[in-house]
Symmetry: C2
Subunit: 313 residues, 2 copies
């Protein structure tokens, strides 16, 4: 049985690692700057993979985590916000032509879910809901022991679900998506707008506000910060009630920077979830967890995808 | 390879049928009144199964479709609105003790989805979203060629997802669920409330109003009926956009009486879906279909469940 080569394509760096199946400690690992807006992103990626390719062992498969939207069934990156030169880019086909092993691709949120399931907070579960609260809100779902991908590979794009039809404008151009209310970006924006409208706050001296600033201020008793996180938590609780009714997981895993917002976010979130879930059975034995893999979630998820998808040798 | 015995437990009758695997034409079929509120529902069910049990062939498994909530993993009916004597009722265990073959159970909406997938409008697809628009709104999902059940067996309870936090009260006691806005019951209720509030309508002479009456009136140009169905369609479009982002199916199948409401419901629904879906890729090659199995969906879905779950003999 050969090795798995994992790649995580991030906005600032591309990371690659060589794993034995099921190991979280890479045999080799390298990284290179993405330089997303400069030409040659693919060439840098290919050179990085070549740089850790083993001379004395076989590689069974390559697993790739990339920002989406992308199609995991065809291996085509449809478009990424960062890497402008990748439009309908046949990523797996190009890597297969160069390295002659099966190549598997999925988006970073799905693979973070898969990584947490196999190696992190989701171990032992068969029904996993992963939510990343970051600049946006991403989702991933394992149902009955299998990653949900969907027909176009766009399943579990949970940030773009409407919970408030007349609510704030989302980055995607639609209104009232949970990402537009409860992401880190949305939390920071609401606090800033309220301060600009004249609300007093400890944050009013800051030149820019992040969701971290809001949770810091909330911890110091700042009323605007507390209200801001309560609002985000309330709608996140509504969205989570919807996701439980849709997927019925046994564990909900929160990742991303804004998942460190503490009880000022999570107390209102859980209260709203309890208020909005239509059947308390969903909450029976339901585990809530923080993601444990951190920056390695993409690499480990890509390994898991390749292991699950590739035939044994 | 033996036969499959299917049972569909309805509010007014229990139906049982004996199938060769993969056949939609039963070798034998019988039915008995459910008498849901009278004692002895289980005894009637058991006697019905015994009445079609073959003398000269083996039965590999029994498949059961029942109203929920129920747990398909344990075979326990938690509660059904109709059959009051079934509280945490170990239905599959009792049938196994009597007939000594594996028994599989799921709720009627999930099994209608499974039936349509194997025998009806979902054939050839691997990612199916089934929505039944009836007195309530039920859902079922096949993802990657497998029925989604969830940890407690409560996945795809899509009628109870919030699309309008301050919206109408749902039968479950929560506000703004899509079932409270766009089910047949909700459509009829909204029309009645508007007439009681003094709105003119062709329906104002009716002593009771059904969703069928509303679609008939809409077809005659009744403005209130048209607005009523447009409102239901608008929110159903928002919900459907959420469901596509969650499950990314290749076919959406509508069942239930209110799915016969015609363009007065479906034109606003599709317009709202197009307006609310955040990425048009979801709609690429997406098929919309009417359920084709009618009253046989539960029996055929129960057969499919048993075939998928039971070992071959």
């Amino acid at each position: 049985m050969g090795l798995i080569l994992s790649v995580d394509i991030g906005g600032t760096q591309i990371r690659a690692a060589l794993f034995e199946r099921g190991s979280t400690t890479p045999l080799r690992a390298e990284r290179t700057p993405t330089k997303a807006h400069a030409p040659g992103v693919y060439d840098r990626l290919e050179a990085l993979v070549a740089s850790i390719w083993p001379q004395d062992q076989t590689v069974d498969a390559i697993g790739l985590a990339s920002p989406g939207p992308l199609d995991p069934h065809t291996g085509i990156v449809i478009a990424t916000p960062n890497i402008k030169e990748w439009k309908n880019f046949p990523l797996t086909e190009k890597l297969f032509a160069r390295f002659h092993v099966p190549v598997f691709l999925d988006n970073d949120a799905n693979l973070a879910c898969l990584g947490e399931w196999k190696f992190g907070a989701g171990q032992g579960h068969e029904d996993v809901l992963f939510l990343t609260l970051s600049t946006g809100i991403g989702g991933g779902v394992v149902s009955g022991g299998r990653l949900m991908q969907g027909y176009h590979g766009l399943a579990a794009e949970l940030g773009h679900t409407t919970v408030w039809p007349d609510g704030p404008l989302c980055g995607c151009g639609k209104h009232g998506h949970i990402e537009a209310i409860s992401s880190g970006t949305a939390i920071a924006r609401y606090a800033r707008e309220q301060i600009e409208a004249g609300r007093p706050s400890l944050m009013d001296s800051l030149s820019t506000i992040t969701s971290r600033d809001v949770s810091d201020a909330a911890a110091q008793g700042d009323l605007l910060a507390i209200e801001t996180l309560a609002r985000a938590g309330k709608y996140l609780g509504i969205a989570l009630a919807n996701f439980l009714a849709a997927f019925d997981p046994s564990v909900v895993i929160f990742g991303g920077g804004a998942s460190n917002s503490g009880p000022a976010l999570f107390d209102p979130l859980y209260a709203s979830l309890r208020e909005n879930i239509f059947d308390p059975t969903y909450l029976k034995n339901l585990t809530f967890a923080k993601a444990t893999l951190g920056d390695d979630a993409g690499l480990l998820g890509a390994q898991a995808l390749a292991v699950l998808s590739a035939p044994d040798h």
